[in-house]
Structure formats: structure tokens, C-alpha cells
Amino acid sequence: MVNYPIIEHLDIERYGLFGTAPEHVLKVIVDRGITLVLGGNGLGKTTIVSMLYRLLAGPTDVTALQYRLDLGTARLDSSRITPDARALFARRVADGARTATATMTVRFADNNLVVQRNLGDLRLVALRLNSDELDISEDVFQREIVRLVGVPTFGDWILILRYLTFFMEDRRPLIWDATAQRQVLRVLFLPQETSAKWLTDERDILELDTRMRNLRAVLSREERAVAVGQAKTQSAAKVLEELKSLAEQQQLDREKRERLAAEGLSGEAAREDARLRTLRAEDDREERYRQVERIKLESIAAAFPTPSETARYLLAQLMAEGSCLVCGNVVPDVAADLELRAKQGKCVVCGSDVQIGSTRVADPVVVTTALRDLEAAEETLAEARLAQTECENNYREVIQQITQLNAAIAKRSTRIDWLVAQLPPDEQSLHKQRSELSLLRTRVEELKVELAAKKNLFRGFIDGVNQTIVESAAAIKKSFDGFAQGFLLDQCKLVWSPKKSQVGQEAGTVEFPAFELEMSGTDFLSPVRRTGPEQVSESQREFIDLSFRMALMTVSGFKSHASLVIDTPESSLDAVFAPRAAQVLTRFAHRGRNRVIVTSNLVEGALIPGLVFGDKPSSRQATVVDLFELAAPTAAVKALGTEYKAIRNKLLTRKTIS
């Protein structure tokens, strides 16, 4: 259980962007529900979001988050940001924000924390927990945060901020980033000791992997050195040439093997995906087939004065597919004849007129639709099978190449050893080199064994972790449905789908916890896995991710309370999705003590009225922080103030929501 931050107040003092008077204070009271920060370009919307973030994170970040979009196996230690990054707010105002401060009151479960920072350099100015003044130090701040939130490290806190609480301009997707997701699931759903052990064990393996590979690189260099030494001793140009070329080739093959191993991993994921698609296509095809069969069976049911179920079963399938189950021949003409007889109230076998008071003749449109669906399902199945064969062949080819490379590397090692063993006995230095080479090889092999053993243990540990996290999967999926279904028209659900990933580059993969998205679409017969953001529309993308974040916070948060800060969600929304987006955010905002802070440009459409009025068009449900009034006006605001005001009045006094 995590105590998410419940942001309650933000006071910004003496910051030029929000007023030039010496003691000017911008006070933002963040009530339960929605707080809408409204402003034009340059009025400071994103600055406010950044201040909220920096008040909670301090001048610290997880290094990997600053420079890369995917987390991978990067270290999650927090480190101080650069002086340039600390001057983020100073750069935006003429006085360098030397005396400007921002103060936040934030609640973690039943504890109130007040943090005040100087906006010039982000240093702590005041820190108060409940009624106690704390030492002004980043160490104290970080220690208290970790304790109040209930996470193992401050780096984990940063993860929560970046992947759950704040949806900033960089839009870090959680649902499609398996590496970030597994870390977030670790922090949210594991006991702290287990969570910390995960980090330590993973780090140990990565370090060992690096050591082993470094040592192997040294080994390669030594092999080359011995080769040269050998050649000099014997002055044999031929030997020089062979050893040199063998050592070079050995290095190239090892590099190639590493590349292929990575290729093999993605190939394995592709073939698993292809197999899943085939099995689901088979399932779809089966369902479509039974549907056609059912329609046909109903249409001939009453044509049998004495029902023979086996005969009906056979005829229904004959009419459904046009192929005979008895002899296996394809006979569409016979199927058409039978159908005509059934329609004309004749016995389908002998053609005699029969009393068919209750014969239900299938509606031709229904039949045509069902047949078309079946045909489409069969096409999909054929394509899926083809794709699976292709993926399997590709994967097999990569594995074959790796096997061949392994054999070639082993054979070459033997040859190098043999050549080195031919050294003249009196060449002391070469003897020494030779024995060092042998020691080095032994050490590399030992490290490989140690690494494999550690990885096996870690694999078992993560299997156990998966069992723990999956206990919350049903609740997360249900919560996600509640948010996503309100937003999307397609069928959309979360699927628990652990993902294989390399930890280091040696000794196989580990299956980490992960959710994936399954969604229907115009071109698919039934919901399919969407493994990347490019597989859904832009409008859907961000709100699917937001729904996932909201679901995780709802399930893992203390009494389900949390804050969500979203910077300009309108940028990806079209007019149709905007009111639905407002509904989803409002629904989350009105749960318990939740707070949702949304910044928005002044855009026409249903988003702003939807956020402000919710489903009660007569009264405002949201707090509006109007930067057109509160911030120092930009040139655009000065020149076009009247127009801005007219639009604002229209949006903020709206009585009905379209």
C-alpha cells in the first residue's frame, strides 16, 4: 500500500511570472475534485506543473529518466540534477528568482508535510511535518518522503511521480513501457523488503554480467597478444597470420553472437505473439463457424418429421461450409439445393413435401452476414498461420546461427590453444602469458557459471513476485475498465501478460510482471493485443495510459486516495473525445480525497466546460486558476485581451454542455 501525495496548497511568492509586486503571492488551493489551471501560451501553466513536481522531487532525479525514454535496466538511484536544470525557474524571470519561493502543503495519509523551496536554485527553505519543524536538509526531506510514502528508495518515489502522479509534456507511457511498468508494479505491490531485494539482486546480476563481459574482452585482447608473441618467437609469418586472423574472427563472432542473442529475444516475443494470434484466430473461426451452423440448423430443424440429430448435424455443416463431412468433397451446389428445399418446406433429403408448421427460414441477410464473418475469420486465420510460420522460421534461423557461431567459437578456441601450446619451452614470457591466458579463460567460465546460477535464483524469485502481484490483477483490471470504458467506444481491457526480458546479456531471459492492452478495432474480428502506442489512435493513446495510471493508484493507494497532475491533455483530443475525457477525469477526481490538477490552453470545445461543470451544468464543480487574471500578461494577452476574455466567459459560464 502506497501513500500517494494529496496536494492541498501551492503558494508562489515573488515570482515574476505571476505578478511583479514585491510581496506578490499566487495562492492555489487545491480542493478535492478538479483544479483547472487555465492560461495561454507563456502564462506559466507548465511552470506551475514543474513547480509542483520540483517541490515533491527536489533537485533530484533518476538519471536514466532525464536522458532516455525507456527505462530498460538502468539504475534507479536518484541523483542531483545539474545546476542548469536547477535554474529552470530562474531562467524564466528577470531577477533570477533569487527571492522567489514556492510552498506546497501535501498530505500523505494522515500526515501533513509543508515544503518550501527557493525558485532560484531549488534549495529547501522550510520543511514542516505536521506541527514539527524539520532540519532543512535534502537528506531529511528524502528520508521523510520515503517513510511517508512507504517506498524503499527515493528513486522509487521519483518513479511514482513520473509514471503515476504527473502526466507531463514528455508523456511517459506506462502501459506500453514494459520496463517502467515492472518497476512501478514492484514499488506498488510488493512488500518493501521484497522490492529492495529485487533491486539488489538485479543489480548484482548486471554487475556480474558486466564483469564477465569485460573479462572476456580482456581475454580476447590477451589471445591477440599471445598470438603476436608466438609469431615473434617463431618468426613464422604464417603462424602470425593465422593466430591474428583467428583472434580477430573470434572477436567478431562473439560480437555477432551478442547481436543475434538480442535478435533471438525479439524473435521469441514475435513468435509467441504470432502463436497467440493464430490460436485466437482459430477460436474466432470456430465461433463464426458455429454461428453459421446454428442458423442453418435452425432453418432445417423443422423439416425433419422425426429428428435425427446426427443427420441434422451433418446437413447443417454441409450447408454451412459446402463441404461433405462424410466423404470430404466440396459440394456447394448440393448445399444450395438443400437450402432451397428447406426454404420451400420440402424434406432436405428426399425432396418430398412435408408439414413444416414451425420451420424458421433463416433471414438471408443474417445468413449472408454470418457467412461473410466466417469467410473473414478464415482469411484472418490463414494469415495468422502464415505469419506464425514466418516468425517460427525466422526464430529458428537465428537460433541456428547462434548454434553455428557457438560451435565455430569453440572450435577456434581449441585451435588457438593448440597453436599457443606449440610455444618453445624456453620462452619464459610466452609461457607466462600462456598460463595467464588459461587462468583468464577459467575465470571467465567460472563467472559464467556463477552468473547462470544467480540468474536462475532471480528467475525463481521473480516467478514468486509475479504470483504476488497477480493477486491484485483482477482489481486493477476492474478499475481500468471503469475508467477506460467511459472513454473508449471499443472493447478494451487489460490483460496480465508477463514479459520476457534480458537481465544482462548472458544466460537467458526472466519473465517480469506486466499488463498489456487488448482492444477491438474496425479491422479486427475480436479484441487483439496492442503492444505499442502506435497501434491505437492518438486520441485514445493518452487516455488509455491515464486510465491505467488511475487504476493502479486506485488499487494501490492508501484508502485509494491520490493526486493526478496533467499538463495540457487537450493537445491529443479531438472534439468527440473531449467530453468523454472530461468525464473520466472528473470520475477519478471525485473519488475520496482525490485531486486532479489539469492545465489547459483556452480551447473551444467540450473539455473545459466538461471539467468545470462536470455533470451539473448549473454550477461549477472545479476550482479554476485563471492565469489570464493572475499571471503577468504576455504580449498576446495585452493585445488580444478582449478576445481571450470573451472566449473565457463563454467557456466558464456555460450552462449546458454539448
Binding site: L276, R290, Q467
Partner: protein
């Protein structure tokens, strides 16, 4: 290759229905037939046999092999299998599913079962399937239909509905076989249960788990 797999599946259907008949389980409802097919795959390891399919798509309603169903249809067409109570039901997700009951047509099936009995390997498989059917026949009909919910491989929450359960195709993680073998530990030292007894213990385990869940 595909024909070979299809033939093996058809043989498995005949053998399963034969075993079900011997255990007094016929006519066998479609979902029970697929369940037995699944168990014959997942428990094959306990009898040192190779499953004919080491994976399947996890469905909410329990094991179902589309390819096996098509082969079953063909066996009905060939007169080897008789079908009764044919009906179509709509599942929760709105999909149509066949609901029917099957039994061997003894006249035509006899020729096949006699031929199969001539081969040692097939006799071993039949023995395994007979014991499996005997063990599962101890369950009430509704327990049998629901037993995948208690099977450690099928019910493993780490594999979600709509994903692939792979216990012997590309990986070798078979919780059902492992759990079944563990029943050996329940015996006094020096006493080793037979493989048939293990299947019966497994069926009893399913019974307990299903009833504990209620």
C-alpha cells in the same frame, strides 16, 4: 505433417471416448471431452508419454481445442462418433458455442479400437486414458465441467484469459504434473503409488479444491 497431427488428434478422440465409455461417462458433453483431452495432455508426463498438444488458448469457460472439435465433426461425418443433444449457446462474451454430447458408434469404432490395440504404444496410451477417465468419473458432472478452475496449470493466475498456456510446447513448466507427482510424498516411506493411483489422487485433489472454493 498437418495430416499426421490431424490423424493423431482423431485417434485421441476415439481413445478418449472409448475410455469414457469404459468409465461410464458417456454420452460425454462437449466441454467434458475437451477437458479430458486437455488432462490427457497435461498429465501425459506423469505416465512418461508425450502430449499431442503442449499448449492451448486459455478461455474463461475452460479448455477447448478448435482443431480437435473440427476433427470430432469429421468423425461424426464418418459415422465413427454419434452426436446427441445438439444445441448452440451464447457465452458471456456473446460468442456462439456448440453444446452437444458424443459417444462412439460401436459398430464403426470397434474396427479402429481393435486396430489400435495391436500396437504397444497405443495400448499404453489407452491404458493411461482409461485410468484418467476412471479417476475423473469419480467427480460429479458439474465438478468435472468446472475442474479446470482447480487445475494448477489451467488456473494459474499468472496466465490470463486470452493468453497461451504453454506447458510443453516451447517451455516445460507443468504444475499439474508436478503437483500430481508430489502425491507420492503422502505415502509412507518405502511405498510407491502406481501411476494410476496418482491420477486418482489428482482427481480427489480437484474435488477438494473445487469444494474448498465454494
Amino acid at each position: 505433417m498437418r495430416d499426421d497431427i490431424q490423424l493423431r488428434r482423431s485417434i485421441r478422440i476415439v481413445q478418449l471416448l472409448d475410455a469414457a465409455e469404459m468409465a461410464g461417462m458417456i454420452p460425454l458433453a462437449v466441454e467434458q471431452l475437451h477437458l479430458l483431452a486437455y488432462l490427457s495432455n497435461v498429465l501425459a508426463q506423469v505416465w512418461e508419454l508425450t502430449p499431442i498438444d503442449g499448449k492451448l488458448l486459455k478461455r474463461e469457460s475452460g479448455p477447448f481445442y478448435s482443431a480437435l472439435q473440427r476433427d470430432l465433426d469429421k468423425l461424426v461425418g464418418a459415422g465413427v462418433v454419434a452426436v446427441t443433444k445438439v444445441a448452440y449457446v451464447r457465452e458471456q462474451e456473446g460468442k456462439w458455442r456448440l453444446e452437444s454430447e458424443y459417444r462412439l458408434n460401436s459398430i464403426l469404432a470397434h474396427r479402429i479400437t481393435t486396430r489400435l490395440a495391436a500396437f504397444e504404444a497405443e495400448r499404453r496410451v489407452q491404458l493411461f486414458l482409461n485410468e484418467l477417465a476412471f479417476a475423473m468419473s469419480a467427480l460429479a458432472s458439474d465438478e468435472l465441467s468446472a475442474s479446470s478452475r482447480a487445475d494448477p496449470t489451467y488456473a494459474n493466475p499468472v496466465v490470463d484469459v486470452g493468453s497461451v498456456i504453454d506447458f510443453a510446447e516451447w517451455r516445460n513448466v507443468n504444475f499439474t504434473a508436478t503437483a500430481t507427482r508430489r502425491f507420492e510424498r503422502a505415502y509412507p516411506s518405502g511405498v510407491t503409488p502406481t501411476r494410476a493411483e496418482l491420477l486418482h489422487l489428482y482427481a480427489r485433489h480437484l474435488h477438494h479444491r473445487l469444494n474448498a472454493a465454494h
